[in-house]
Subunit: 255 residues, 4 copies
């Protein structure tokens, strides 16, 4: 039966080779970093040095947030019942929604409005009038300040581009504090939205970058769970960290 032909602009494969957005994959392997290649696959063009550094930093910031996140717990639950690693990873993805890890795109919409000239006050008012929270702000644990956010904004400030979306995020944060009298700080989704907005990555790609980066962490929790008794009652906050003590990252130890 004939099918309608359909078009894809991403990757061309043939017995002769594989090209991503026109570039030979064998040149990209060893020639471009994974975060930069992801940028290429998503946007269609190679990142600048600044863009490449920031995408990489965003992915590192998103890699894991410990055993008590819904995604890590779901992955552990899957392993605990006898699931495969892939099943555990999928179960983890399926906990990601507007409350966990998938608020980046929605937050970009909010920041864009402020960057385009609406006042933070007006934009917040619209959202709260619908009984919703402002996406990208507030965190269960980091109630005052999310340490990942300051670091990302500091890195962005070191690069050579305008920061209207970071400025918008800061304005929204200040307005939220003024309205409620208590901090509702920018969270990792919000920081990702601000930085991606400033480097021009379209909003529709933003959740995907977080989800990919976080899957790396989720699968590691699944593998740790493989060494634990099946069907155990997993108290989400009853874990004790027994890994290495705090240690500094010396430049000379790195890549």
């Amino acid at each position: 039966m004939p099918y309608e032909s359909w078009e894809s602009q991403l990757t061309h494969t043939s017995p002769e080779g594989i090209r991503i957005r026109g570039y030979d994959l064998t040149e990209l392997i060893g020639g471009l970093s994974y975060p930069a290649t992801l940028f290429l696959l998503y946007t269609g063009e190679l990142p600048t040095v600044s863009e490449s550094r920031l995408i990489d930093a965003l992915m590192v910031a998103s890699i894991d947030h410990g055993p008590a996140t819904p995604s890590a717990l779901a992955a552990r639950g899957s392993i605990s019942g006898g699931g495969t690693l892939q099943a555990a990873g999928a179960a983890g993805l399926l906990t990601m929604g507007r409350h966990h890890g998938a608020a980046v795109e929605a937050c970009m919409g909010v920041l864009q409005k402020v960057a385009d000239g609406e006042s933070a006050e007006t934009v917040i008012e619209e959202i709260t009038a619908r009984g919703e929270r402002v996406p990208g702000f507030g965190h269960r644990q980091h109630k005052e300040r999310d340490p990942r956010v300051d670091r990302l904004f500091e890195l962005a400030a070191n690069e050579d581009f305008e920061t209207p979306h970071i400025d918008a995020a800061t304005a929204v944060e200040a307005t939220l504090l003024a309205r409620t009298g208590k901090p509702v700080p920018i969270n990792i989704d919000g920081a990702m939205a601000a930085v991606l907005g400033d480097i021009g990555v379209p909003a529709e790609f933003s959740n995907a970058i977080f989800i990919t980066a976080r899957l790396g962490g989720v699968l590691r929790h699944a593998i740790e769970e493989q060494g634990m008794p099946p069907m155990r009652r997993i108290g989400p906050d009853d874990h004790t960290y027994t890994g290495p003590e705090p240690r500094p990252l010396h430049e000379e130890e790195e890549r």
Copy 2:
């Protein structure tokens, strides 16, 4: 109700900060690449420069293989029915099994046996006697040679470590050719198994690295599908590549 306390050695979070394997995440952000941070999270220690380069290269090699893979098609099918991006990603992961993207760990077992001194002939015989295929060898499209493999082995050869697992993979490939008279080349799963074996990454982590890297690609296909008509009949081979023409990766354009 009291729960049993359980231990995790991966990531410690508190209102004060986030530490991955003892390192402050704010130091890792901008201080270590995503692939190197993944290596740290998985193995517990920072990679050497060589290890970091190779993990990065393996992830780039795994990022995508076009629209006709089971994982990209499943993700498109999910979007086509009205699924979310996360659902599409999960559907993609769920197509990964021993036939697609999750043969790395099994292949590492095979290569380890050969690296430990068993003959490739004996190891292959054991597998085929069970009516199974040798994991990590053979590809639907790259019947003669998978271009990703040669590039990865070339990069590994440029670094300063022993290559018993790459040698084992080459021996298995030669033996398969001798036995059947036709090439059953090392595929991307096999190359990943060989390189990870040589840099000492435990087999149990190997599928996770492929799965994470490939999710980036799968989600991009899902996003492309979001622009297409819902409920279309997706002929898996009826796509035409309409992206950029072949183009060289000039060093100066990169990061």
Copy 3:
């Protein structure tokens, strides 16, 4: 660490027994049908005989629609790559969205408005003005008439309750035909919405009933795929039905 206590009104289990909505599960086993038990679990109360018959009929109507649905194809893709049965089922669920199998709840909202007195014309206008399709109407294959729908409405007419939602569905269908000049018939999601509305099942439960019933079909396709070659190119419309010839259901052969 103490957790907040949370409440559940569904099922109580203890070493002594299992009670669903207060009823001893050992009395339900053999004492109530699965569809009626599902009704009990969802709504909190036993169905009447009429309600029980109709829930059962809706589940039968939803069980399968052949190999070309997105959900059956995704399940086959999962098996084809080496996934487990559970993974295949999950992949199938993840294709269900507003275009496939999860439009029941949205359709109930539409029918409720008409049943409450708005004209079908007004309600349709609102939806199409947003550039959307009316949920629960139209089918890729059953362009004139979905045979499942007539049968379900006939069964409902034989029972002793009012049918304002079925009437609303019929009105919407007639209005769509009048507006466009071509039939946009009630589909299975729409019929389920109409019947559930008339028996008073809340809209929030409606998608779940379809999804549960359809999973039975999806998993059967997955099992059939287990006997096929892995990694085959699955042309969605290239299947031939090779099962039993048409045959009548004689009353005497049934339960």
Copy 4:
């Protein structure tokens, strides 16, 4: 591009109608129960009255086991993070493995050996020598006796067929008790395996019946969670049942 034609023996759809295993779906709707239709779709033939009753009873027995099962918790976690109902259902399925809900097929293999004449002692010895548990026996909560099991076996005894697999299950249970001095009772997976074995349903279909039946329960937990605060810490044993008090199932209230 041409695809290989492939065969399916399950369901034929056309603009004219839908036939499941040759039967017109419009005759099945209202003419056959959902469990009986599932039997038909799976095995290819209509069930007898006895088979139909027992499949129905097995599905009722499997529908739910309260909020603390891995599948219900995973579904709640998905909703808690912002997932859709379908995502929650899929996350639930992905916790099902050999430790939870997917041991029916493996147990059927064990029971078949005993039914075929091997001693329970020998069969158990083989399994425990591999360091594994006997699938289908033992339950976290029902340590002495699973009440669902006795009821299912009682129902089976009322029907008119031989019970070699139920007898095998009873023999394995007695042998486990004799070996260890403490009860390792038949669980719901084991009971399903025994009953399905006796009514001649092939082992490869057995997990699917449990999974389908349980999805109904899992989705109900997901819907209950929709009314709770997002991102709450879900202590798996901190729930209190606040539903209806114990009440009898009077025959007159039923269908």
